[in-house]
Symmetry: C2
Subunit: 352 residues, 2 copies
């Protein structure tokens, strides 16, 4: 029935060595004669041996699994983020374990602190989740285990962090609209906040708003409640698009929109279309993120393409460093902080 799994002992016995030697041989540890290793590997192959990871983990305390926590799978941004992180994790010889919080306010915290897996099953965690306010004692939650926060945006990072180019990216996006001749630009983000408040923001969307508003102000354009709408996803983006169309058709003619993420930008374009406004002819639209969908949508979406591969690399570098520190018992270094690169990708939605 093949129901009885072959264990290391079986392999060792069959190969005529001790379990320990078999273990060392299989894991490529030094101190095993070439011929012995060969023999063990062949035997394992022949017996169709598969290591029992639970036993291995229990004993060694290592799983090689990296926990990746995001808000959801089914959005253009997260699906791409997850893929980039999972690919890089795999490339480094770790196994990615992806979990979604579904935006549950404390699911991120939950995933980190209370999950029976965390800290026992996982060798490291990478988290990008809302509801993880900067006031959360993340470092404490993770009790010194390797943790990378994506886009934590803390002024003084309390844990290893990889940030998006929020402020610079948003500024570049708005500047692009201005260069394309837009004179009356709307911002779709988390709603209006005065500049004074933005001065000390520590959220991704606050920073994006800061960058966007500074670009407007530098160009002598208006930044006030009348130009800022509220949406983070396509559903609300549609509402914003309609609102903008109404304003434009009602005598307040907007000619450009900066959306603080691609996801909402798709909705805005959709909402504008609902009211008969076409992009880019009647209104130019630009987003941030560089989601895959932007390249095959109609119109294709101009965007701030953030380098998610770089993000994944940075994240795993940080994890690897912490694991290394722990392995060699080195002193823990201060939290690292990196910001990933971006480039402006001009497409149809802002064409002249």
């Amino acid at each position: 029935m093949g129901n009885v799994r072959t264990s290391l002992r079986d392999v060792a016995a069959e190969a005529g060595v001790s379990p320990m030697t078999a273990s060392n041989a299989l894991r490529g540890k030094p101190g095993v004669r070439r011929s012995t290793r060969q023999k063990v590997l062949e035997t394992a192959e022949r017996l169709n041996y598969r290591i029992n990871l639970t036993a291995s983990m229990l004993k060694s305390g290592r799983s090689n699994i990296i926990h990746i926590i995001v808000n959801e799978f089914d959005s253009p941004f997260y699906s791409k983020l997850v893929q980039a992180l999972a690919d890089e994790t795999t490339k480094r010889g770790f196994t990615p374990f992806v979990e979604q919080t579904r935006y549950s306010p404390d699911a991120g915290k939950q995933a980190l602190a209370s999950s029976p897996f965390s800290g026992q099953l996982f060798d490291g965690e990478i988290i990008h989740a809302s509801g993880l306010g900067t006031n959360l004692p993340l470092a404490k939650l993770n009790a010194g285990r390797p943790l990378v926060l994506i886009d934590g945006c803390e002024e003084t990072p309390s844990v290893d962090t990889v940030n998006f180019p929020n402020e610079e990216g948003a500024r570049a996006a708005v500047q692009h609209l201005i260069e394309r001749g837009c004179k009356h630009i709307a911002i779709v983000a988390g709603g209006y906040a005065p500049r004074s408040e933005l001065a000390r923001t520590e959220t991704a969307y606050g920073l994006r708003l800061r960058g966007a508003s500074s670009a407007l102000i530098d160009a002598g354009l208006a930044y006030d409640e009348s130009v800022v709408l509220r949406a983070f996803d396509s559903e609300n983006g549609i509402v914003c698009g309609r609102e903008l169309a109404e304003k434009t058709q009602g005598g307040i003619p907007f000619d450009g929109v900066f959306c603080a993420n691609d996801y909402s930008a798709f909705g805005v374009i959709r909402g504008l279309a609902d009211c008969g406004l076409r992009v880019p002819d009647d209104m130019k639209v630009i987003g941030i993120d560089g989601t895959s969908f932007g390249s095959y949508a109609t119109p294709t979406l101009s965007t701030i393409q953030v380098d998610l591969n770089q993000l994944a690399q940075f994240s795993l570098d940080m994890i690897a460093r912490r694991i290394d520190e722990r392995d060699r018992g080195t002193e823990q270094q201060a939290p690292a902080c990196a910001t990933i690169g971006y480039r402006l990708t001009e497409r149809e939605s802002t064409r002249p």
Copy 2:
């Protein structure tokens, strides 16, 4: 340093009971006095006890983890599929472990057979992956462990299977185009195959082509090499869109396109736009899948909406049944097979 995790023994000692009683109390097993259970739970809470899953798994052979294998994260179809499966898995009290194969030809097989996790870490597996030809001895690969194949499309299922309504859905889609007045309909799928060959197909796209072609033939429309193009994703969809536009502008006027998935449909619309053809004005387009993106794209995409929640429910029902069988030592029942429901969702892309 809080580095020493509190173990079950600590809790038991603190509560003044044996580890066994503590274990039973924590797991809600019967045969523990109310007051005892209460005391143990409180102690565990107070000591911030978290069970060590690796130990638990090693001993019990159960993990409560369901392995979900798909081709990739970053496509409109898979991101939605994964979300539906993960949500339902969570809802049932299991933990979803999602893995992507990146379309590697034998990655699916690999994931099932050779991964050190499979069959030891996982209590069940749900797989939707290409490269899993129907000729693979799946049942054998999984050695009697709970496995559900998504859209396996085997005539006689060798393992528990949940199929998409491939043939019926495709037929309904093409019929919809016909009802909307299309007279010259193109099919974007896996390329042309003669009807004789389609009679005994066991692939999802073969079935979709069969459904689509039969709808054409029933309506007295052409089904031959000239109307079938090849694309499964947006990239190739764009190429198809351009090709269709060229043909149409060159004297072979198509007026409708059925795409065998939404993903390629987005590309087709994009490719048509590249050549100045607009949807639905110049050409009507319909897809299959009901991806989220279809509802906020411009134009919104008419599609065959498949019920992914139902798919997830069926899948987990099947897993649960197998786990149950194993637990009670019941005889294994024959492979189950279900087909999920669908409905036609008409949107802009096929509007008159």
